[in-house]
């Protein structure tokens, strides 16, 4: 079974990401399942960027662990990633840029001096020694590009050609891709790129082959979509009926706005880039009040600004979807790196008793269906729904089956009947606490969407103590009614009643699922529970899962264990935390290691030790 991890690394702004994306698209079109991961610098030019692609003949759950093929354009890329190459893996490097220390050492240092532009660091220092079995292929990418093609940037295409030929990736798909990508720029540009591709492919003949990586054509013959989490989310929003978006640019959420700015007008909608995030949510609430399904997307800093508006949406009972593509905080933090640090803010951000629904998207496919559900919940319960994604999920691409919109039937808000519009009361107390919502234009429906505590008619009741309690109960009753939905939207992987349980949320679903498979293969009794709605939490399902376990690990990409803390509030259970806080997602191995560690303590009868880890 084909299952390879490719990684491309180099200087930010020099085409590392687009090189990775081309390889991604090519592998997907060649019939492989894809799972990418990208990190890139916070700077526009300079800094280090890398793009990882895992390609396999079967469904992929994580970005993988070790690297099979590293394409390192410069010394920094080599320094950062060479240690991740698996034994027997391949390094392709630009021999005009640098000579890897093992090669330099083998050549007695002479090569190091001869190679590369002056001033380029050529190894030494604390660089981890390459595993002996790594296969190194030096390709003079820069000089081939400048001397043979005459365009320096085509070194990326030359490198792709080399890797494609080396790994036996079908030639025709790549050629078609280049025609498609550069066709708009004219035939000359297409020819230059095809020439570069062929130069790269031909160069394989000049190296002594020592690796055994072979892909060929992938097994999948059906059409799939290849897109990122943010793209899938934006598509899902359109499918849910979103026709108004207001937002402010912020990494890593901006591409949602850019996507919708292009696509929404095609179906009569519009995107407005507001002056700040407060205005963004304000405009969303104004539009939703008027009857349009509306949303905004942001990241932590912008979401922090929206806190007061969240309270307004709760008090005035206005449907709204707020996406937080999380990045590292606090403050500006690490804008291009991933973290699951906004759980508290999403659930509790705001003054007063301020119920809202918080969901977490788990995979690229789930970004589509998840955001549809978010719109449905917002409409049904007339309250804001926060949707947590993160940089890892938002910016990774995956192959997914073509979406079926009918899978999640679209729900619209309850509007007043003609009868209800006689003596209409916007916030009327009803058995299910959901009041019919009139919209401007409806005769007899006039009311005030009110942020002050108010009576059933929407009139201020800022000194009516009983009314405040009644209204608070109404708002919480709607929130509590989401819990059964949360219980339905729980996924269990591995054993449903395991000895060792794992609870995670959001983007780490696939990684945990893969870790469970690996641990089961090693003979451990493990299972994972992954909720899609975090707040209100799926308490019934959690209880069922936790009962009978010997230990439960709560895995989160944050420092303090925010979800674990929330769980401890509801369950008298000594959860074991697994936290990662370096701006990177979990790898399956990290989860498996923890399972083994906890299992060892459990089996030796020292669960308390595991709990204290």
């Amino acid at each position: 079974m084909v299952d390879y991890v490719f990684r491309v690394g180099g200087e930010g702004g020099e085409g590392v990401i687009s090189t990775g994306e081309m390889l991604t698209l090519d592998l997907a079109r060649s019939g492989f399942e894809i799972y990418t991961f990208r990190t890139y610098p916070a700077e526009i030019k300079g800094g280090h960027a890398n793009y990882q692609i895992r390609a396999s003949g079967q469904l992929l759950l994580s970005q993988g662990d070790a690297v099979d093929v590293l394409l390192a354009f410069n010394q920094e890329a080599y320094d950062k990633h060479a240690k991740d190459i698996r034994p027997g893996g391949v390094l392709v490097y630009d021999s005009d840029s640098y000579i890897p220390p093992p090669v330099a050492a083998a050549n007695g240092g002479a090569a190091a001096q001869a190679a590369g532009p002056s001033g380029q660091r050529t190894g030494g220092g604390n660089i981890p020694a390459l595993v002996n079995s790594t296969v190194l292929y030096g390709v003079p990418l820069t000089s081939l590009a400048t001397e043979q093609v005459g365009v320096k940037l085509t070194k990326n295409i030359i490198a792709l050609g080399f890797v494609a030929e080396l790994c036996d990736i079908p030639r025709e798909t790549f050629e078609a891709l280049l025609r498609e990508k550069f066709g708009r720029k004219g035939e000359t540009v297409v020819q230059k790129n095809l020439q570069a591709l062929h130069i790269g492919m031909d160069y394989v003949k000049q190296v002594a082959r020592k690796d055994s990586i072979k892909l060929g054509a992938g097994p999948r013959k059906t059409k799939e979509l290849i897109l990122s989490g943010n793209e899938a989310l934006a598509l899902g929003a359109i499918a849910a009926g979103c026709r108004f978006y207001a937002g402010y640019p912020i990494t890593p959420a901006t591409d949602i706005m850019e996507f919708l700015a292009k696509e929404l007008p095609k179906i009569g909608g519009f995107v407005v880039q507001t002056e700040d995030e407060i205005a963004a949510l304000g405009a969303v609430l104004g539009a939703s009040f008027t009857g349009k399904k509306a949303m905004t997307a942001t990241s932590g800093p912008g979401f922090s600004l929206m806190t007061e508006m969240m309270g307004l949406a709760v008090a005035a009972e206005i449907p709204a979807v707020v996406v937080d593509v999380q990045r590292v905080g606090p403050s500006t933090g690490m804008p291009t790196k991933t973290e699951q640090g906004d759980f508290y803010l999403a659930c509790y951000g705001g003054h007063g008793n301020c119920p809202r629904v918080v969901m977490a998207l788990t995979s690229v496919e789930d970004c589509f269906y998840g955001i549809m559900r978010a719109f449905n919940l917002a409409e049904q319960f007339q309250m804001p729904v926060v949707v947590l994604s993160d940089q890892y999920l938002g910016h990774r691409k995956a192959t997914v089956p073509v979406f079926e919109i009918a899978k999640v039937p679209v729900v619209n808000r309850r509007t007043p009947t003609a009868q209800e519009l006689v003596g209409y009361k916007r916030y009327r107390f009803t058995p299910d606490s959901i009041s019919p919502m009139a919209m401007p234009g409806m005769e007899g429906g006039g009311y005030i969407a009110e942020g002050l505590e108010h009576d059933e008619g929407g009139y201020p009741a800022a000194s009516n103590h009983e009314m405040h309690l009644r209204s608070t109960k109404k708002r919480y009753a709607k929130w509590a009614a989401v819990e059964p939905v949360a219980n339905e939207l729980v996924r269990i992987y591995g054993e449903p009643h395991p000895e060792i349980g794992i609870i995670g949320w959001g983007s780490s679903e696939g990684v945990i699922r893969e870790a469970v498979q690996l641990a089961q293969a090693k003979g451990y009794s493990v299972g994972a529970l992954h909720p899609k709605i975090l707040y209100p939490a799926p308490l019934a399902k959690l209880k069922e899962f936790i009962d009978g376990t010997k230990a439960v690990i709560v895995a989160e990409v944050n420092y303090t264990g925010q979800f674990a803390t929330a769980l401890r509030k509801r369950f008298a259970y000594d959860f074991i935390q697994l936290n990662k806080c370096v701006g990177l997602p979990f790898t399956p191995k990290e989860i498996v290691d923890k399972i083994e560690e906890v299992a060892a303590h459990v089996r030796s009868g020292h669960r308390d030790l595991a709990a204290k880890l």
Partner: protein, 284 residues
């Protein structure tokens, strides 16, 4: 707007809720003028949305028979923008005070002005924070003594008219709550204007900053020969603060934001069939 024919009385826009303002508050005059303008323009309450922020003026939507949105402090204009974009056929009026519009919400005003949505924004400017008991506001004069400036205000007040003209608003005028006839006329013109219309109304706070004696002697009309089509002349007039000149300072005809949105939609639909499936195809 309603069917022509029967006369619509200003009182028909009154709601059952009685204004909570102090007797003598300037805001009563603004509200009365607003009723008059709505009646004169025969605005259908079901197609009218009044958006407000926080402050004494923030309660206005509750007193106008219409749809209303009492939002949070300073955010009148973003909410109003969302309403207008979601349904451009609605008449949208934003109301707020000087603190709401020029301090906490000051960041939204330039963007509303330059985008030019067809919204009328009425600021009830009393140069103090009435609802929190009289602190100095962005339009309070130097020396203003109150709770947070016990030794007198040391900050230069801003000039709302000059500011909004500079921001690129397409309709800018000033009114006084004590001259309801002139104010009605100005609000009516503002509502008839296609684009973002800004009306700064001097509306005294009788309880915390009673200017009823000092304002009238300073009042004057915008000169009859003032060229309302000249932005430079309007700016010049706004800078002459020896008198408080009432009337229209500036008016310009420019495409509204909604018109721009309609153009974008037309452009987008010309290049692609308006179907979700065709968007999916871009990702295969």
């Amino acid at each position: 707007m309603s069917e022509a024919g029967t006369e619509i009385l200003p009182q028909s826009y009154k709601t059952d809720e009685h204004p909570i303002w102090c007797p003598g508050c300037g805001d009563f005059g603004v509200l009365a003028s607003l009723y008059n303008s709505l009646a004169g323009l025969r605005i259908d309450p079901k197609n009218l949305v009044v958006v407000s922020g926080i402050g004494c003026s923030g309660r206005t939507p509750g007193f106008v028979k219409s749809y209303g949105f009492h939002s949070v402090h300073g955010r009148v204009l973003p909410v109003a923008l969302g309403v207008k974009l979601a349904n451009p056929s609605l008449t949208v009026i934003g109301v707020g005070g000087d603190g709401d519009g020029f301090a906490i919400g000051g960041g939204h005003l330039p963007h509303a002005a330059r985008r030019n949505p067809d919204i009328t924004y009425i600021v009830m400017d009393n140069a103090t924070y009435g609802l929190t008991k009289g602190q100095y506001s962005p339009t309070s004069p130097v020396g203003f003594q109150a709770g947070s400036t016990p030794y007198g205000n040391i900050e230069q007040p801003l000039n709302p008219l000059a500011m909004v003209i500079a921001y690129g608003a397409t309709f800018v005028g000033q009114g006084y709550s004590g001259k309801p006839k002139e104010l009605t006329d100005l609000i009516t013109q503002a509502m008839e204007h296609k684009g973002f219309s800004f009306v700064d109304v001097i509306s005294p706070c009788i309880t915390f900053y009673n200017t009823y004696k000092v304002i009238p002697p300073r009042l004057a009309e915008v000169p009859k020969d003032h060229d309302t089509a000249s932005r430079a002349k309007a700016f010049e007039l706004a800078l002459q603060t020896d008198h408080l000149r009432l009337g229209l300072y500036y008016r310009e005809s420019r495409p509204t934001f909604e018109q721009g949105v309609a153009e974008v939609i037309k452009k987008a639909q010309a290049s692609s069939p308006p179907k979700l499936e065709s968007i999916f195809a871009e990702f295969s």
